[in-house]
Symmetry: C2
Subunit: 459 residues, 2 copies
């Protein structure tokens, strides 16, 4: 049966791709209010597709946010394990638009790559999972495992509502393992299993000075300029030389790497030269005393994403702006707690605040970090599936990104989370010209066909 399912999945590739194109064309940008209707449209499209695949109890689970979708197929019997599949249908914004070579929501194949916002993160990868399931159901009218599907539309906005759904509906979602396919592998020959995700804390600092914008000729030199104050505050956060974050207590809860995990990280065949090339930087930089993989996955960070306020058009305007802001985030690692870090951050930043301005800290979102038990059977089964699908054993990698739901799924369902993906490091996810490497996608679908068989004891 497995052979026939694999053959089928190859035969209908174009069909699966056409369906993915339909989903990609919906600009479901969850962070921009202008795209609210597109979020509904993407959810409706997926509900219809899940029904067409032959899944049961296809429905929206009650939530105050964008639709949470559920579907199941429980025909494998009580002896077979249950797998819960998670994915997200929302995507990142597309600015700066002028850097895209093709329209961001017009899926375009160039060579081996499919270009589109969401091609890799996560519509394309989510669709690899659906394609594997669809292949099993089409060929054999059944699956080797009991299956549950949980799809959300708020992953890119740090999932403010899904955790409540997972905890509330934990009986409905009860499972032996969770599969999340939203990550990258190292290169087309080198699969990875992700052994952890970083948390995140996204803040906006707003410094208010004058009651209104002032002329920098009339008042310049006699009042504090909110931007001048803000850059001084921000410059206090990270050491210019060691790149250490200087907030007292910031590292207190950070777990040290154990020797086994450090060893696994060292085995990953990723050189700094390769990292430079993928990132497009002349030289890497990061916290003193750590390797690149440790800096990007195991250690916390501080990043400024943009600084709204004042005059930013072409030309020059000599204004002392009434307000200056900074959008920033800190990736957190076990056992840092976003709430506690917010407090430490605020206390530290306020200690540098002059009496000439007011500081407001807006908390825009947060996510908990998580680590994955590499010895869980569902993780071992995935290692085996990768060997069959990619012809190579996976490396074990600590992911630098955040998947807020991982920790909640682990805790609420008491199940291991298998965290994988078929993206590539240069997929430009969250950037212009996001793309999906199609040969990877095909191998990914076959890996997942194998995975269902292995997990169900049918291989």
């Amino acid at each position: 049966m497995l052979t026939r399912v694999l053959e089928y999945s190859r035969a209908v590739r174009q069909c699966h791709l056409d369906a993915l194109f339909d989903l990609l064309r919906i600009p479901s940008i969850s962070t921009l209010p202008a795209h609210e209707q597109d979020m509904e449209k993407a959810a409706d499209w997926l509900l219809a597709y899940l029904r067409a695949m032959g899944l049961k109890r296809v429905q929206e689970l009650p939530t105050e946010g964008f639709p949470v979708l559920y579907a199941e197929w429980l025909g494998a019997g009580p002896q077979a394990p249950t797998l819960l599949v998670y994915g997200h249908y929302d995507v990142q914004p597309v600015d700066p638009l002028d850097e895209w070579h093709t329209p961001p929501f017009d899926p375009t194949i160039v060579g081996s790559n499919l270009y589109c916002r969401g091609a890799s993160d996560d519509k394309g990868q989510l669709f690899a999972v659906l394609a594997a399931i669809e292949s099993w159901l089409s060929v054999s009218s059944r699956l080797p495992v009991n299956l549950k599907v949980l799809l959300e539309g708020e992953e890119e906005v740090l999932a403010p509502h899904l955790a409540r759904v997972v905890w509330r509906d934990r009986e409905l979602l009860a499972t032996d393992a969770v599969l999340i396919c939203d990550e990258a592998i190292l290169d087309p020959q080198t699969p990875l299993i992700i052994t952890g995700v970083r948390g995140n804390l996204y803040l906006e600092l707003e410094v208010s000075g004058p009651a209104h914008d002032l002329h920098s000729g009339t008042f310049g030199g006699a009042v504090d300029n909110p931007f001048n104050v803000l850059v001084r505050l921000l410059a206090q956060i990270q050491d210019a030389t060691t790149r250490r974050i200087l907030i007292p207590g910031f590292y207190d809860s950070v777990l040290s790497l154990d020797d086994a995990e450090r060893e696994r990280l060292l085995q990953i065949p990723l050189t700094d030269e390769m990292a430079c090339q993928v990132a497009g930087v002349p030289a890497l930089a990061g916290e003193e005393g750590y390797t690149t993989l440790e800096r990007a996955g195991v250690r916390p960070t501080f990043e400024i994403h943009g600084m709204p306020g004042g005059f930013t058009d072409p030309g020059h305007k000599t204004v002392i702006p009434a307000r200056a802001a900074a959008k920033l985030s800190m990736r957190l690692v076990p056992d840092q707690d976003p709430q506690e870090i917010t407090g430490l951050f605020e206390q530290y930043v306020r200690s540098f605040l002059p009496p000439t301005v007011q500081l407001t800290i807006h908390r825009l979102g947060s996510a908990l970090p998580a680590v994955v038990d590499v010895k869980a059977p569902a993780v071992r089964a995935m290692a085996h599936a990768f060997e069959l699908g990619f012809g190579a054993a996976p490396y074990y990698f600590r992911g630098g990104g955040s998947l807020p739901i991982v920790r909640h799924l682990q805790d609420a369902l008491a199940a291991p989370v298998v965290l994988i993906g078929f993206g590539l490091p240069d997929d430009n996810s969250h950037a212009p010209n996001e793309r999906l490497h199609l040969p990877n996608w095909h191998r990914g679908i076959e890996t997942l066909v194998h995975y269902l068989a292995i997990l169900g004891g049918q291989e």
Copy 2:
């Protein structure tokens, strides 16, 4: 005759105001390319008005920038002095638009104030001069002095072309004194004569890091974020405590205040409490060891106006931007030279630059500082005119803003520049809700009617 001219100027106030409204309605924003046609429209409107006033040789002087307008009336005879009047018809941008209480180019009178972009800076003030001239010409068909008018449309973009015109056409423009009416007085009862302007140096710093935007999860911690680098560079420029600019050599050419001028500044009845209220700040701040008036007029500054780049929309996007920029300016004072300061600035900033990024410094404009000789007869005549028009002797004030042309007019024409105005410190020039205090404007017109008489020996 003077009495009749004054009476006439009062009788036709509405008529002058109607004409000013027409000029104000033209959105002549010189720094925004979208308003190029409006610049031509404002110039054409003024050419027609100068002709209708009865001025001669009304024309555009050749220039590569927005039109430079010239007009003259030389009928006072060779014994009478010549006065060159300067003004500008361009205005600042209007963002943030949502902070305006009335449409920025729809002149609206509320109580004693006229609200409109350009109401004070400089269309309203320029029009006070034209109204005084028009009053003399209408009543007596002549002026007490020989008059030349020079109007430009690039004052708000640091006048890149006018200096060349002034030096080239210095014979045409030859004069005994220059009058510029583009400043503020302290309050409606307290006129000022401005004894200097600061120079300016407007730069844009651009830090480039990754070749393209990166996901802060995947790469965060392992590459330098251009914004993180930029805020550290900017924080090096000004001391957080003393507010001194830390660029080596920056203050080397700054002239100390002489005792007479310090004394004149101390006489100005402006308290820090008043300055706080006008600026709308909880507390003033500035360079250690100087008074507020010295900080705002006699000392150089460093101001950040805006920081383009990255993600600045509502919501959150976790991007490491490929580029981060800062628009900034330094007000300069005699004898600082913008060219020399640019070199010192660049050398200093580059000394902090890590090898992970590239820095480009765009020079967006510069202006020379100038001081005015308070003993010149044309300045003394203005003090007398203020006593008659406002019923109060003026104070002598060092202006903090930049009027690039002052120094060129002084040097090219070898003539003293009389620098005054009828604006107020809270006119919101360069900010939303710019306004003109109409009682001031009326007194200003009468002051200028007197000034022409005094200068021509007819009072």
